[in-house]
Symmetry: C2
Subunit: 332 residues, 2 copies
């Protein structure tokens, strides 16, 4: 299980992967029931392995409070099943131990994923780039092992190993300060009117989903809805703002976000001063990672988790990773 | 009445001014009742004069839909009172006429305020700067009359006469891309975790208000709450993130926002190429306007609406303006 602030993900490490959006910061009281349902939907659920990032959700006054709340929900939902929690030290511990080491249980999913990804590149210096809905991880791998500089989120932001930007939930006003409109640049509305998902739905990089209301205005994640939201970013009415206008803005946003990721990657590589063997890409934003990596010179070997293991697993990569690591640990 | 997307404001043009937060995009069904209460609280309410910006709220599919919804709520709440709506052309028209000219009724409050402010500077080239919770208007005044380049919001963004940034509701991730933390700069979380209000509450520029939950996490607008929210911007836990850390971030945000406004002012002045006689400042963010204007060389004469007419009127300046203009129009 990978318990995030905006999504719940489950995988069994053998091909099953499932996720659904869950706004933890709005509906935290529902977490236990949501986890129970998710566990019941999974084909093999006698053992549970847990990682999380949801403790940062702003319904919690502190990370310790968040970790404690999430572990409590896991305990209730587990109904007595054997449960292990992944720590940033790489250990799998009981929920009781994790409760006493909350800042190691916090935001540990990237570490599990990096350890798993290392097996694709057992030699040399490589990177894992996981682009999610909200954040992106850029983790150095040395001889197949995670070699991150930062462990907690603040250090990871500083080292650029965590880039707080993703392909769905990132507010457009946090990515750009102006947007193209009919041949000129227009300063944008500093308001949560649209997100990166709108740009990628317009461009066809992400699918339309008329049932998903996880958007800035709570309306459908369709192209029509995305166009209205993108127009609002420059206070344009959709009576005037057409599809071509939306495409221009979407292309610009995609370029800015690619360049932002490229810059972060350069920063992480630059500190090492070693040639890059390969890059493992995963997450629902694999497409963005590929575009950023292709800007590197020379272009390193690309290993796509979605191509190797399927799109579902790529999207739930940390859940898959923690399931695989837990089984291996159990088998000794 | 000045009907915004986040606040409702009322003034009678003779000293009464009242406002309260109202999240139109979340509770639009309550608008009629809210207006009815607001009208009942006002000392003189036989005639109504209305201006708005709330039509941009993202509960509306288009501005026309928004204007129509708001005018309909006004009609119901007016209970048959004589009602006029301000248009960006400077005319006061009946709600029926405004319904047919929705794009002139949309976002006209700055125009009413600029016309009113012109009486403080009847000669030469001056500016009105109104810094609100969400947006800022920078309107040129020539011989006491508004001389804006843009009329609709998109053109106004382009001409920098509208700067979509204010002292309460602006997401911090839309103002900066990194924040100072213990001697270094930390890339921030591109998430709606904190707003400019948190920075100004920490600095003492805005008052604490433990009853106000109009914040990024829906918790109190106190210094303690603000510190937690500011810490979250760099994923720092409030067990580690102290008041001094919060002050460093708040100061930085205040400077960035002041510079942003200074740049916008420079843009608006630059196009005219005329010496600036004076600047009229208003709004709950007068303090920020003053700081930006003091960066100009030479510093122009400053006319503070709060000093002349009181803080309440400064904060509800467009409502006061439209009330004064309506009375004058009625008296011929």
């Amino acid at each position: 299980l990978d318990i995030g602030g905006a999504n719940l993900k489950a995988a069994d490490g053998s091909g099953f992967a499932h996720w659904h959006p869950f706004a933890l910061w709005k509906e935290s009281a529902q977490l236990t029931q949501q986890l129970r349902t998710l566990i019941a939907q999974s084909p093999r659920h006698d053992h549970l392995a847990v990682t999380m990032t949801g403790e940062l959700a702003d319904c919690f006054g502190s990370k310790t409070e968040g970790v404690s709340f999430i572990l409590d929900a896991v305990r209730k939902a587990s109904d007595g099943r054997h449960t292990r929690v992944y720590l940033t030290s790489g250990q799998m511990v009981t929920p009781q131990v994790a409760m006493r080491r909350p800042l190691e249980a916090a935001a540990a999913n990237w570490h599990a994923l990096a350890r798993f990804a290392g097996r694709f590149v057992p030699e040399g210096f490589a990177l894992l780039i996981d682009v999610g809905s909200t954040t992106t991880d850029v983790i150095p791998l040395v001889a197949g092992q995670p070699a991150a500089e930062g462990l907690d989120d603040t250090s990871r932001l500083m080292s650029r190993e965590l880039i707080y930007s993703g392909v769905e939930r990132t507010p457009l006003c946090a990515v750009a300060s102006e947007l193209p409109y009919r041949g000129a640049m227009c300063p944008l509305a500093r308001e949560h009117f649209a997100t990166t998902r709108d740009a990628y739905v317009i461009l066809g990089d992400l699918p339309e989903d008329s049932l998903s209301l996880d958007t800035a205005d709570g309306r459908s994640a369709t192209r029509v809805g995305a166009r209205t939201r993108l127009g609002r970013m420059i206070c344009a009415d959709n009576q005037r703002f057409n599809h071509r206008d939306a495409v221009a803005i979407a292309r610009y946003v995609a370029e800015v976000q690619r360049d932002l990721l490229f810059e972060g990657i350069g920063n992480v590589i630059g500190r090492r001063g070693k040639p890059l063997t390969a890059v493992v890409v995963s997450g629902e934003g694999e497409f963005l990672a590929v575009r950023a990596v292709q800007q590197l010179d020379p272009v390193p070997r690309l290993i796509s988790v979605s191509q190797r293991l399927g799109e579902g697993i790529s999207r739930c990569a940390p859940a898959h990773a923690v399931a695989v690591l837990a089984r291996e640990a159990a088998l000794g």
